[in-house]
């Protein structure tokens, strides 16, 4: 998860590179082994709220065609990610940098003729990746900020002073005890400990 430059081809988390070494071929020539696939993956995904309709995707490509991110990325193709998910290419999908490029503008959800909530399928995939300790570093910062301050960004002292000068009311305080409980209850704390262990 070091390189998040999606404009480079084959930036799918390094797995393609490993395979390239293994087979001595470029990514698009790789023949997938059935034993590498997880045939139950699509069922698992379809049980996650928002991702229920994944199996209805018939690969029309409307999501990719209308996606503002895909327009400026060489690698982000929501249609392809839906197909890979249906085919059970679990490891490839979850370790891919590309799943983190959805901006959640929800255009794909509004345009899908099959009612597949593509952005929500991607969220489900990201959640599973995060559980395995795979997430871009920016999310670790957001998590730590919210856990420690209640706010997603660390608001500098200077800003708080300026608020007073501009006669804005003081910012509401966070209840850090409650927030910490919610982090523990939803097991995000565990995910993070796993992350920290991996980093160490």
């Amino acid at each position: 998860m070091k390189n998040h430059d999606s404009t480079k081809p084959n930036s799918d988390g390094g797995q393609a590179n490993d395979r390239k070494k293994e087979f001595g071929r470029t990514e698009h020539k790789i023949v997938l082994k059935a034993s590498d696939l997880d045939p139950k993956f699509k069922y698992k995904i379809s049980k996650i709220p928002g991702a229920e309709r994944i199996m209805l995707c018939f690969q029309c490509g409307t999501c990719t065609a209308d996606c503002p991110i895909a327009k400026f990325s060489e690698t982000y193709r929501p249609r392809k990610l839906m197909r890979m998910t249906q085919l059970g290419m679990k490891d490839r999908v979850l370790s891919s940098d590309v799943i983190w490029l959805c901006a959640a503008c929800f255009t794909c959800i509004d345009h899908c003729p099959q009612g597949v909530e593509i952005a929500n399928v991607l969220r489900a995939l990201r959640n599973l990746a995060a559980k395995e300790g795979l997430m871009p570093v920016v999310f670790k910062e957001l998590v730590s900020n919210i856990r420690n301050t209640g706010y997603a960004y660390r608001i500098p002292e200077l800003r708080l002073k300026r608020r007073a000068e501009k006669e804005l009311p003081p910012l509401p305080k966070a209840n850090l005890e409650d927030i910490s409980k919610l982090f523990n209850l939803t097991h995000l704390s565990k995910t993070l400990e796993k992350e920290e262990r991996q980093d160490a």
Partner: protein
């Protein structure tokens, strides 16, 4: 009219000009704002890593609003989208409500549902204040000014959950802009996202996306771009010099919060509306009248 103001994280972090101008114009429209008793992020930034945590963070805020008995108003479409979606989902899905209330019990809260509504500023202005009262508050019409709008995805999408305006051909923000006397121009790819949410993962894509939009805004002759989202504003205004460097192209398009435009038309001075905080200075358009 009275609302619980949910300020969010981006506004106090970088975009206080939105808050300053919003408080001014809302006061003038006789809207009373009550501050949140306690605050935590709506949960949206963590939805990608843990959906359940997003649900509980959002619900905690909804519970506080229920205790106050006040509808929530947000300035940030991300917060509005998240809180609105969770408010609706928990009301409609008993199992989900049970699950989340199990978590809430641990912090001595309970989501009841059906008590409060969540609205974004644009919705409050269009639906609750109404165009008639808005028009009456205009003292200094911005006749001759030509602008364009960028809606902010979560004000409108996903349409089936939001049910406000038409995301394919949004008109409400345009109408709100035109009642200030300014003309709101159409431009190519107007409804497209600015890409801001992924800037921490990949900065090239959002910079190019926003650059394309700025180019199209300029091409139709708009003198400024009007936003209603702090995150979009950060992309279009704070990052504009960077976009210009990356694309080797000069835009110089001032980007105003809708509340700044409205405030000018209400007769507030640029300083009262925090216009000095804009990275791309709006001095050119301010000399119009």
């Amino acid at each position: 009219m009275k609302y619980l103001l949910f300020l969010g994280c981006v506004i106090p972090y970088r975009i206080s000009s939105y808050e300053i101008s919003a408080r001014k114009v809302l006061e003038k429209l006789s809207i009373e704002l009550v501050e949140m008793p306690e605050f935590n992020c709506c949960g949206l930034p963590l939805d990608p890593v843990n959906h359940e945590l997003m649900l509980t963070l959002a619900t905690r805020n909804l519970c506080l609003a229920e205790q106050k008995g006040l509808d929530i108003m947000t300035l940030c479409p991300g917060c509005a989208g998240t809180l609105r979606k969770v408010n609706k989902a928990l009301r409609e899905d008993k199992k989900l409500k049970e699950l989340v209330n199990g978590f809430m019990q641990e912090i001595d809260l309970e989501f009841r549902g059906g008590i409060v509504k969540v609205k974004h500023l644009v919705q409050v202005l269009a639906e609750d204040v109404g165009f008639k009262r808005m028009r009456e508050a205009i003292q200094n019409p911005l006749t001759g000014l030509k602008v364009a709008e960028h809606n902010g995805c979560h004000v409108l999408r996903p349409a089936k959950y939001v049910g406000f305006d038409d995301p394919e051909n949004p008109v409400i923000l345009k109408k709100l802009i035109e009642l200030t006397g300014a003309l709101c121009l159409d431009y190519m790819y107007e409804t497209e996202c600015c890409g801001a949410p992924i800037i921490g993962v990949n900065d090239k894509i959002p910079l190019h996306l926003t650059g394309e939009k700025l180019r199209n805004v300029k091409a139709v002759g708009a003198q400024a771009l009007i936003t209603v989202c702090p995150f979009c504003h950060m992309m279009f205004d704070l990052n504009q010099p960077r976009i210009e460097r990356v694309l080797s192209e000069k835009f110089g398009v001032p980007v105003l919060h809708y509340t700044q435009l409205l405030g000018l038309a209400m007769g507030f001075s640029p300083d009262e509306l925090g216009l000095e905080q804009l990275r791309v200075k709006a001095s050119k358009i301010l000399n119009l009248n």
